[in-house]
């Protein structure tokens, strides 16, 4: 009870009146950040919304002409762009599913008494902390058909990973799985260690089989955390640029971010790329919204 007495500070008391008021401190602390983000995140987006209705090209000095919804209409009718979305969807599904499988699998293996468990976990987490662009570059050497270590280790001869149009996207996904399975593993481990031990003991007493225990106890209890991992990785995989851009130039591995980059900074179709950016932005905001709603739900529990 003593704490409640202290925490309910009377606004008119001497303590509250000294120095700046709480309201002004709150504003002083929050408003600069919000302003900064508006100027450097929201304002540019408004700026590009304007350009998305024009035929502006940043490579010329020609003034921008207003073309209405032309850019959006063209993009949504462009089979090329649709194929970029299809490639991105395929990439997201393959890489997130792979990460889920490997990450959760390794977490299940690690969820027991193992010598040097802390060290092993930290070592396993290393890939995801490293720079995608720089490490991705080195995977080019690992995938090399003539002297790549991967072909040698797997006895694949001169198998083409990155130069084969059919294989390139999967090779990028494989590197992504290597980098980000640890993330799923980390979250799964947290989920697994939170499962109350007495549930397993009760299941053992009831002579429940390992499958029953897994599907009726482990999985349902870890599911919310796995869901966080899946949504988060989906969002990140959807945005992928570095890894795919560095590893391969195959059109069959051209993710939406790469298309956007080429449109904006190689073909200099600035107006059109702004419209494209808006289409992507709306999709990302939708996924982010789901993610944050879900996060808050999990947090409340």
């Amino acid at each position: 009870m003593a704490t409640t007495m202290i925490t309910t500070l009377d606004r008119s008391s001497r303590a509250a009146a000294r120095g700046l008021s709480d309201i002004s401190i709150r504003n002083l602390f929050i408003i600069p950040t919000v302003l900064f983000l508006i100027v450097f995140n929201i304002f540019p987006l408004i700026y590009s919304l304007g350009y998305s209705f024009t035929d502006f090209r940043a490579s010329t000095n020609a003034p921008a002409n207003f073309v209405g919804l032309q850019n959006y209409r063209d993009l949504l009718n462009d089979p090329y762009v649709w194929s970029n979305f299809a490639i991105t969807a395929k990439y997201v599904i393959v890489s997130v599913a792979g990460q889920l499988l490997v990450g959760f699998g390794v977490a299940m293996l690690l969820n027991r008494d193992i010598p040097l468990k802390g060290l092993i976990t930290t070592l396993l987490l290393l890939p995801m902390m490293l720079s995608m662009a720089v490490v991705g570059l080195f995977w080019k050497l690992l995938y090399d058909p003539s002297w790549g270590v991967i072909n040698y280790a797997l006895g694949l001869g001169n198998f083409e990973w990155l130069a084969d149009p059919k294989m390139a996207l999967y090779a990028v996904a494989l590197t992504d799985i290597w980098m980000w399975s640890p993330f799923v593993m980390l979250l799964s481990l947290a989920g697994l260690s939170a499962v109350p031990k007495h549930l397993y003991e009760a299941a053992a007493i009831d002579r429940a089989g390992p499958f029953y225990t897994f599907f009726r106890i482990t999985l349902p209890l870890v599911a919310p955390i796995l869901m966080i991992a899946v949504i988060f990785r989906t969002m990140e995989a959807f945005k992928t640029f570095d890894l795919a851009y560095i590893l391969t130039s195959q059109p069959t591995a051209e993710l939406i971010s790469i298309r956007l980059y080429k449109m904006a900074f190689q073909e200099w179709q600035t107006g059109r790329s702004c419209a494209m950016a808006y289409i992507v932005l709306i999709m990302v905001l939708a996924i982010t919204n789901i993610y944050v709603k879900y996060l808050n739900k999990v947090k409340e529990r």
Partner: protein
């Protein structure tokens, strides 16, 4: 649990431990390969079968930092004897170090890119964590109208693909002359990390009992004094963890750096891949550059190991 362990469970445990070891080796193999290639002589970097045992060399690092050209004819014995050790290892590889008219060694592009990476990552981290700490305290302790929406807005700015943000930023920076400048990238990375820092720091702030400051207020501190003298020291671990996360993000960032810089303010991530041009790249030099670039992050990962979960989930999961 231990009491009901059967022999088959113990057997499974052993299998699992072996499996964990195998997985760990597979996951670390690419990183080991980078590190080992960084110390190989060039002719051993691309061999079949791959070279695992070799006499480590420092020459890739010498080559990383200097401009070199192919040797047309081997150096004379006098030249070789007069050269310092670091020049001799380059001679041994069939190359020579380029010197200007005054005999000064010419640096490669790497050191300046590495320095740019350091300047930009450190400055933007200080700014993002500084602002983020204040803002997180504001959100944690005071009622803010539409708090959930504001926090969502703050987070969503980070969720956008970098290219989406880069297009208008590129045009705006070009208009005000901030392209290829340190300040330009620092602002971008600060904005990018600020949302993360607010979210993460808010979690840490929420954990500091309000009673600490309330007691200080009763003792005659102003709110500001209470914040600086009571809250900040309590939040030190959280601030450090957030700072390391922000640093790693800025350090690793590629897309913005690729688009916004080309020479003067270029950071290491777009520079290192640009070294793999056409023809046969010298993988030992690339590995050396990669190795030095990854080293700080590897060290930080170990320092940060207890906070990784929290940081990677935007503070959603605390342990």
């Amino acid at each position: 649990m231990a009491a009901v362990r059967t022999s088959s469970e113990i057997g499974f445990n052993r299998v699992a431990i072996v499996a964990v070891l195998v997985v760990t080796i597979i996951f670390l193999a690419p990183i080991y390969w980078i590190a080992s290639t960084a110390f190989k002589p060039r002719n051993l970097a691309t061999t079949i079968p791959p070279t695992v045992v070799f006499q480590p060399e420092i020459s890739p690092f010498v080559k990383l930092f200097t401009k070199r050209s192919q040797l047309r004819s081997p150096p004379t014995p006098e030249e070789y004897a007069a050269a310092p050790w670091w020049e001799r290892v380059v001679f041994d590889g069939g190359e020579k170090i380029v010197r200007d008219g005054k005999g000064q060694v010419q640096w490669s592009g790497y050191p300046s890119r590495f320095l740019n990476s350091l300047i930009i990552a450190i400055t933007s981290t200080v700014l993002a964590v500084g602002m983020g700490t204040f803002t997180a305290y504001g959100f944690s302790r005071f009622k803010v109208k539409g708090e959930a929406d504001l926090l969502f807005f703050i987070l969503s700015t980070r969720m956008l693909p970098p290219v989406v943000v880069a297009i208008p930023m590129f045009l705006m920076y070009r208009a005000v002359g901030l392209n290829d400048s340190h300040i330009g990238l620092i602002i971008l990375y600060t904005a990018f990390n600020l949302s993360f820092s607010v979210w993460l720091m808010k979690g840490f702030m929420d954990e500091i009992p309000k009673e600490y400051e309330e007691a200080a207020l009763v003792d005659g501190y102003t709110r500001m004094e209470a914040f600086f003298k009571i809250v900040l020291p309590e939040a030190a671990t959280g601030i450090a963890a957030t700072a390391v996360f922000c640093f790693i993000t800025a350090w690793n960032e590629y897309a913005f750096a690729l688009i916004m810089t080309n020479r003067r303010a270029q950071t290491a991530p777009p520079f290192i891949p640009s070294q793999v041009g056409s023809g046969l790249p010298d993988w030992t030099v690339i590995a050396a550059g990669t190795f030095l670039f990854l080293l700080p992050v590897a060290i930080f990962t170990f320092l940060l190991r207890n906070h990784l979960l929290r940081g990677m989930s935007f503070g959603a999961i605390r342990k």
